[in-house]
């Protein structure tokens, strides 16, 4: 029997999911800035993007705003799910 979920990795649970598919830079980062304070300090925000610039801009935003970039994972449709932990 084949496993339907072969190769699929379970998404890391996040406290807030921001679907930014189809948005071009700088919109995904603007969404992140607008909404990340909706989670408690220590909480995790997932930003799902199709914009190639987000791979550079989300970690750069975290560095500039003193937040933690907690990595990226692939969404099932090929979009990238960036994880950001609120530190302040």
């Amino acid at each position: 029997m084949t496993d339907d979920r072969a190769g699929e990795v379970a998404a890391t649970p996040a406290d807030l999911e921001l679907d930014c598919r189809g948005m071009l830079c700088p919109l995904p980062v603007i969404e992140l800035a607008r909404h990340h304070t909706e989670v408690a300090v220590g909480g995790l925000v997932a930003l799902v993007t199709t914009d190639v610039a987000a791979a550079t801009d989300v970690p750069a935003w975290c560095r500039m705003r003193d937040q933690e970039y907690a990595g990226a994972e692939a969404a099932p449709d090929g979009a990238v799910r960036h994880l950001v932990r609120r530190l302040s």
Binding site: L24, C25, P26, V29, I30, A33, R34, D51, V52, A53, A55, T56, D57, P59, A60, W61, M64, R65
Partner: protein
């Protein structure tokens, strides 16, 4: 001799994009009109006008050689900086066919280098640090790897201004017998050539010469094989009929730029420091590139939450012409590979580059407009 601090006639104030193209230097303008009268003939012909053209071409070569501190027979004029890059890198690679096809290059090279490397070999990307400087440990490892043909490393980065450690890189490459190609298009005339190159390329319109002239210098004794169909010109490394008047004008501009670079460079560095401080003082703006070891005339910063195209347009509306490495300002809608490789913000990016006559008042005007333009764009998105 022209006045180094005098504004060039015809350059609108607020043009802050010299790194894309420097306005024609007054020394080039005078030479160009005279040479257009005299330099029309084929420099290979044995008649009077041919000898005249040959004289002008040889003179251009000698002037460029002197300005760069190289031998005249090492200098070739090409039809652009891109062609000089292609001939320089690919000619070294062709001569190294038996050694292999690997072409390590920094991740922040100009696209002319990247396209040439893909066309003529197997490119190997070398990482850079946050300031855009190539990581020497990775470079040393890759140049020593078997099958390496040529190392390509720019003299200084065209987008963020960071100077590359060419001499150190060349020492590593030379230990493995790997020749070094240096793309010096961003720095030629503005900074002395670094040590250690085997071939180097420059572009006249970036130092105030006319467009359509590139310079390729191949070190005497370096093994270089024409990567393109040959030609029967004065110079074996060249292809096509030389643009003699433009080459002479480019040479005159280079000589003038080198003669005045200490003064102009010091003035530009002071203005760039002012831009760096003022841009960094705007909220959520990051100035990128090395703060000290850098090109004198160029500074780059990125503004959070701002669309690069809107920023360029907003500044243009206020009379300031700048470039941007943001995705929305590129034809491919991909962000600047330079900013990406450095890991710095790619959106809201602005590159300011000063011409030799950019005044303090122009820079102050730009710095007064910047916070307003950024603030207006952020207000539009509620930030």
């Amino acid at each position: 001799m022209s006045n180094a601090s005098g504004a060039s006639a015809g350059t609108p104030s607020g043009y802050l994009d010299a790194a894309s193209s420097e306005p024609l230097h007054p020394a080039a303008r005078d030479v160009l009109s005279a040479a257009l009268e005299r330099g029309y003939a084929d420099p290979r012909r044995l008649h009077g006008p041919g000898r005249d053209a040959r004289l002008l071409l040889d003179n251009a070569r000698a002037v460029v050689a002197e300005a760069l501190g190289v031998r005249a027979d090492e200098v070739t004029f090409t039809s652009s900086g891109t062609e000089a890059v292609h001939r320089g890198l690919l000619g070294l690679a062709r001569a190294r066919e038996r050694a292999g096809r690997r072409l390590p290059h920094s991740a922040v090279e100009h696209s002319a280098v990247l396209h040439a490397a893909r066309w003529g070999g197997d490119p190997v990307e070398l990482p850079v640090d946050r300031r855009g400087r190539v990581r020497m440990a990775a470079l040393a490892e890759e140049v020593a790897a078997p099958g390496t043909a040529v190392l390509a490393l720019q003299s200084a980065n065209h987008e963020v201004g960071t100077v590359q450690p060419v001499a150190e890189a060349a020492a590593a490459a030379s230990a493995s017998g790997v020749p070094v190609f240096v793309d010096a298009c961003a720095s030629m005339g503005r900074l002395p050539l670094p040590e250690g190159w085997d071939a180097v390329a420059g572009s006249a319109h970036k130092w105030g010469g006319p467009a359509g002239v590139g310079v390729l210098v191949v070190r005497k004794g370096t093994w270089w094989v024409n990567p393109f169909p040959g030609d029967d010109r004065v110079d074996e490394r060249a292809g096509g009929f030389e643009n003699v008047p433009a080459a002479l004008a480019a040479a005159a501009a280079l000589r003038a730029v080198v003669a005045e670079r200490d003064g102009v460079g010091a003035r530009q560095r002071a203005l760039v420091d002012r831009v760096r401080a003022a841009a960094a003082a705007v909220a959520d703006v990051e100035v990128v590139g090395d703060p000290i070891d850098r090109l004198p005339h160029l500074v780059t910063f990125s503004c959070l939450y701002v669309d690069g195209e809107a920023l360029v347009t907003g500044l243009d509306r206020r009379g300031f012409g700048v470039a941007s490495g943001s995705a929305c300002t590129s034809s491919t809608l991909t962000p600047s590979r330079v900013l990406e490789a450095m890991g710095v913000l790619t959106h809201g990016n602005v590159r300011v580059s000063l011409t030799r006559s950019t005044s303090e008042a122009e820079v102050d005007g730009f710095l007064a407009a910047l916070p307003d333009v950024v603030g207006d764009l952020r207000a539009e998105v509620g930030l």
